[in-house]
């Protein structure tokens, strides 16, 4: 062992000795409580799946989330903005195909056993592969949530409408896809109907109709333990097969504004740092524009800038913040600015100075995130989360 190793071992030993007494284990009993609660949820989902297999229509998430009974088609809470219900799904099936189309009522077991071409997930989703599990994985992976049946492509044979989930740690995305059997009897993908990608926040359940259309219960956000269920706006939307792809044929095409929520939006300009100054840092600014598009006012707005390790705030531009903070977390460096109330329609523009130590930046891509907080400074949902962050560059 060289002197460098000895030096570091000494430093780490001191670090360990100082930190150990500060660690306060929640305890193994808390582990049991957490696992017990999760298992209760899993059992609920499992029972719902079992019920779905018996009853036919898929009700998995419905049971989990205590959803209301599916409304009858055409009784959605919002007027249809898209094209009227298409007649094509209910049109007579092509006569040539009906006689020979293989049975597409693919059992759940067969779906699970088949190595199916997975329709693509949306966005930065780390699920892939040609396989999904029977139940939601504890950690990560694809799983088959529910299956329903209808003659979606009107060839005279039923097709399997599958609701598939991707779980990665605490994040879930779901999608609806349709599988059928080809002339050889192999299970193939007919097409993807939709994914729970913004502006959709969640897919609750699917309900395949005798006329071949697919009704899907969607929400504008993921239901969580931290928010009341009424915050989630839910709608039934209907989709049909055009012959080449799925297209919405009935139901609302957008979510109505939630009068209790603010819609924060943020943009930020690129940062061009000046040459290394005498203080050993490079200095720059970004102009951040935050708008509350309403309809509700925001009690507080929290702005987070992810610029890189050890980047610090400087200058008068931060004086508009009620509080300024910086995160010590080197895995996700933040500068924070807590802003006061913003009424609906209000825009704030901040010219924020930053300094990066050394000549070399630790990262070139940067991110600005805004979040609405209530009077107690607890996070509250945003009317449109997809525009709550802006990516920009620094050089």
């Amino acid at each position: 062992m060289n002197s460098e190793d000895t030096f570091l071992d000494t430093q780490f030993a001191a670090y360990r000795n100082e930190l150990l007494p500060d660690v306060t284990p929640v305890g193994p009993d808390a582990v049991r409580t957490t696992v017990r609660r999760r298992r209760r949820i899993t059992v609920t989902v499992g029972a719902a799946i079992a019920l779905a297999l018996i009853a036919g229509p898929a009700v998995g998430y419905s049971a989990l989330n205590r959803a209301p009974a599916p409304p009858e088609p055409g009784t959605s809470t919002e007027p249809t903005q898209g094209s009227p219900p298409s007649s094509s799904p209910s049109a007579a099936p092509p006569g040539s195909a009906t006689a020979t189309a293989p049975n597409g009522r693919i059992s759940r077991r067969d779906l699970l056993a088949a190595r199916l071409p997975m329709p693509p997930w949306s966005g930065d989703v780390p699920c892939y592969g040609e396989w999904f599990a029977d139940a939601k994985p504890a950690q990560e992976g694809n799983w088959l949530e529910s299956v329903d049946y209808a003659d979606v492509d009107r060839d005279g044979a039923e097709d399997a409408v599958a609701m598939i989930g991707c779980k990665f740690n605490t994040v879930i995305q779901t999608q609806v896809a349709v599988f059928k059997r080809n002339q050889s009897g192999n299970i193939v993908l007919l097409g993807q109907v939709l994914t729970s990608w913004p502006p959709l926040g969640w897919i609750f359940q699917i309900d395949a109709q005798p006329d071949g259309s697919i009704r899907i219960d969607v929400g504008d956000r993921e239901p969580t333990d931290e928010q009341v269920a009424s915050v989630v706006v839910r709608q039934w939307r209907t989709y049909g097969w055009t012959g080449t792809r799925f297209q919405q044929t009935a139901g609302p095409t957008s979510f109505p504004p939630n009068p209790t929520l603010a819609d924060l939006r943020v943009t930020a300009t690129d940062i061009t740092y000046a040459a290394l100054a005498d203080d050993g840092s490079r200095h720059g600014t970004t102009t951040v524009t935050i708008r509350n598009a309403g309809p509700a006012a925001a009690q507080y707005v929290w702005l987070s800038l992810e610029l890189g390790k050890n980047v610090r705030h400087e200058g008068d531009g931060w004086s508009g913040c009620v509080e300024v903070s910086s995160s010590p977390d080197p895995s996700n460096p933040n500068l924070g600015c807590l802003l006061g109330p913003m009424r609906a329609g209000e825009t704030k523009t901040l010219v924020l100075g930053v300094a990066s130590p050394g000549a070399v930046l630790t990262q070139y891509s940067a991110r600005a995130v805004v979040m609405c907080l209530d009077k107690q400074r607890d996070p509250v949902p945003d009317a449109k989360p997809s525009d709550n962050e802006a990516h920009f560059e620094q050089r």
Binding site: E4, D9, A14, V23, T24, P25, A133, S304, D329, N334
Partner: protein, 179 residues
């Protein structure tokens, strides 16, 4: 439906079963694992959350994990994976807001701040290797296994990480000495 039998949700393993008791396992490793992860991410509260989550996942499949040669390695890997998950980072902003309102406790010593600052300056791979080697006492072969890279790569990370860390710490101490 895959609903496995709950693994001793309500009590320790039977006496004389010859298996590692989950409670003892937790008590024996939680603190050390948290310190290691804190050195990597620089946030003690966050590190505790991640290690607790890793133990939850271990408990869910304890019957299987307890048979592994090194159950500690499994839990540590899960905790570190959680720390580096890009998806999990999406929730960091919310956690950060909450942390701003937490009660303040006596601050860390200058040495601890210096160590965390110096570690934060290292590239991620180098930092992981250094922390795992010096705080978790893992040999190069085990770090290589955890990271899924060749031992030579770990040796390189360790060499460069240690040199840079020692330099940062030394600079910091000399800087203070000149004040």
């Amino acid at each position: 439906m895959q609903l496995s039998t709950p693994s001793r949700l309500d009590g320790p393993s039977p006496p004389g079963s010859g298996r590692i008791d989950f409670d003892e396992f937790y008590q024996a490793h939680f603190r050390a694992m948290t310190v290691q992860l804190c050195a990597y991410i620089g946030d003690l509260g966050h590190a505790q959350d991640l290690v607790q989550e890793a133990f939850c996942r271990a408990f869910s499949r304890w019957e299987k994990i307890v048979k592994y040669d090194d159950p500690v390695a499994w839990v540590r890997k899960v905790a570190w994976n959680l720390a580096t998950s890009r998806w999990r980072r999406a929730r960091t902003a919310e956690r950060f807001v909450r942390r701003q309102r937490e009660e303040h406790v006596p601050g860390p010593s200058p040495d601890r701040v210096a160590m965390e600052t110096a570690l934060a300056l290292l590239p991620t791979n180098h930092r992981r290797a250094v922390v795992l080697h010096h705080l978790a006492d893992l040999p190069v072969s085990e770090i290589a296994r955890q990271e899924g890279v060749a031992e030579g790569t770990v040796k390189s990370w360790l060499h460069r990480g240690r040199t840079a860390l020692a330099a940062h710490l030394t600079e910091g101490k000399e800087g203070k000495g000149h004040e």
